[in-house]
Symmetry: C2
Subunit: 134 residues, 2 copies
């Protein structure tokens, strides 16, 4: 799908090979800061999303910069995200995020520093679940 009209403010970086096993579809990762606070620009092609996952100890803050996508907590309806939206994900909450079916999507991911912070990667968001989203 064309990137026409998709204004990815921060550089897209490279294919997100390091985390590819935890994603469906193609994503791109560009680390903007690795000192002080870790911040990455994550870009998703249409339909791309990460698996359900949990940030343990440290949480993560999403700052949406381009396109249209979703954030969903386990057991709750998905929230549609547009540029300017912010999601503050507490540690311990099972969730996923990614692009809408018809749009590229980009957010900054700010890692909340914490002793012993790690991600627990879980099952993919199934096509059946994803296809229910608008």
């Amino acid at each position: 799908m064309s990137m026409r009209g998709f204004n990815n403010i921060f550089p897209i970086g490279n294919k997100n090979d390091a985390y590819a096993e935890y994603f469906i579809g193609q994503s791109y990762l560009n680390m903007l800061s690795t000192t002080g606070v870790t911040i990455g620009n994550v870009t998703f092609e249409p339909r791309a999303r990460n698996n359900w996952h949990i940030h343990h100890n440290g949480g993560q803050i999403l700052l949406v910069t381009a396109g249209r996508g979703y954030f969903q907590e386990w057991g709750k309806p998905a929230r549609v995200l547009y540029p300017g939206d912010v999601v503050n994900i507490p540690p311990g909450v099972k969730h996923w995020h990614g692009a809408a079916p018809d749009s590229w999507f980009a957010h900054l991911a700010v890692e909340v520093p914490a002793v012993g912070a790690y991600n627990e990667w879980l099952e993919p968001v199934s096509e059946e679940e994803y296809n229910k989203l608008k």
Copy 2:
């Protein structure tokens, strides 16, 4: 000056009255996160800038989202900033940031968490210094 062509991705918030004494010109502040990591959207009208200042203990990361502005460290030439630029300001470095004369400017300011973090506010950037910038 008109905001035409200035695409402030994140909501501008209110006039930055809390820090007005440390700024020249009008700025706006919208806190995007106050939990985990403190993140604010700071918007500057043309010519607006903060005073020289130092982040002690914790540093600050600027993520430029709109317009054109500057970052300058004491004793170094000013750096022109555009959307997509990132400035990782270490603790202890005297610096200022703000808008270009002919453009609005917006950046996210990410506070690096640290024990005993505080800002030391110093002298304004004089008109003479500022007017040398292009």
